[in-house]
């Protein structure tokens, strides 16, 4: 349910003028709920930013999320895969 919850909060933020990107752990949920920008990560539930204690791996996921935010031309909703 977590995946849906952050998607719905992201939609409200976007309605109020804040750009968002959501991390998603379930591709099919992102496809059904349709957040504006989603980065699908291939990690287990409980590990959305990869490895605990590994700042480099966590930062790599965040960098991919930031690049999605910066992309000027996608058509919403955008679902992009993260490749570690």
């Amino acid at each position: 349910m977590c995946n849906q919850t952050v998607c719905l909060v992201a939609a409200e933020l976007e309605r109020q003028g804040i750009s968002t990107v959501v991390i998603q752990l379930l591709r099919n949920v992102a496809g059904k709920v349709r957040p504006p920008r989603a980065l699908f990560v291939p990690f287990k539930h409980g590990y959305p930013l990869d490895t605990p204690g590994d700042a480099g791996r966590q930062m790599a996921v965040l960098e991919a999320a930031l690049r999605l935010l910066e992309d000027p031309a996608p058509t919403p909703p955008v679902l992009r895969d993260y490749t570690p």
């Binding site: 349910m1 977590c2 995946n3 849906q4 919850t5 952050v6 998607c7 719905l8 909060v9 992201a10 939609a11 409200e12 933020l13 976007e14 309605r15 109020q16 003028g17 804040i18 750009s19 968002t20 990107v21 959501v22 991390i23 998603q24 752990l25 379930l26 099919n28 949920v29 059904k32 709920v33 349709r34 957040p35 504006p36 990560v41 291939p42 990690f43 287990k44 539930h45 409980g46 590990y47 959305p48 930013l49 990869d50 490895t51 605990p52 204690g53 700042a55 966590q58 930062m59 965040l62 960098e63 999320a65 930031l66 935010l69 910066e70 000027p72 919403p76 909703p77």
Partner: protein, 160 residues
């Protein structure tokens, strides 16, 4: 890989029948300036609270839709993880909350000027919400307004 196979048969059946809330139309706010000039906030649905904040209420049918404000200077190791779901391994985020609430990582992004600044507060919620009406109607709009009032330009939202 995060997929349905991680869950019990009962949970998989529930999720297969669950009426997911479709966002339609999809709202869209493009970045208005370079990230190096943007103020960023986090929203985590891992159920983290400060030690002096009330835990999310597990007795609320359909899930607790409330939010907690988390100061961005918080040491993430002081956060208390209260996520009610038994469907995932909690040990990783208890060992390093950054894995679901990357408070220290975004400070590092600001230190290197990848982003302009980190907002003075982030938001925490309980992701395990099955009845989303109260979230969509009652609690998400004022939570979003807090970040608007702070001048936040962009947000990263992290589930568990």
């Amino acid at each position: 890989m995060g997929d349905m196979s991680e869950f019990s048969f009962t949970v998989r059946m529930f999720l297969a029948a669950y009426p997911w809330r479709r966002i339609d139309p999809v709202p869209w706010t493009p970045l208005r300036k370079p990230l190096s000039q943007c103020r960023l906030a986090l929203v985590s649905s891992a159920g983290f609270v400060m030690p002096d904040q009330p835990h999310f209420d597990e007795s609320i049918r359909g899930g607790d839709p409330s939010f907690r404000e988390i100061p961005s200077k918080t040491d993430p190791r002081t956060l208390v993880e209260t996520h009610r779901s038994e469907s995932f391994d909690h040990t990783g985020l208890q060992r390093d909350p950054n894995v679901a609430f990357p408070i220290e990582r975004v400070q590092e992004l600001a230190a290197t000027s990848r982003i302009g600044s980190v907002n003075h507060r982030h938001l925490s919620c309980m992701g395990s919400i099955t009845a989303v009406g109260r979230l969509v109607r009652d609690t998400a709009p004022p939570a979003a307004r807090l970040l608007v009032e702070d001048g936040v330009d962009a947000a990263i939202l992290v589930p568990v």
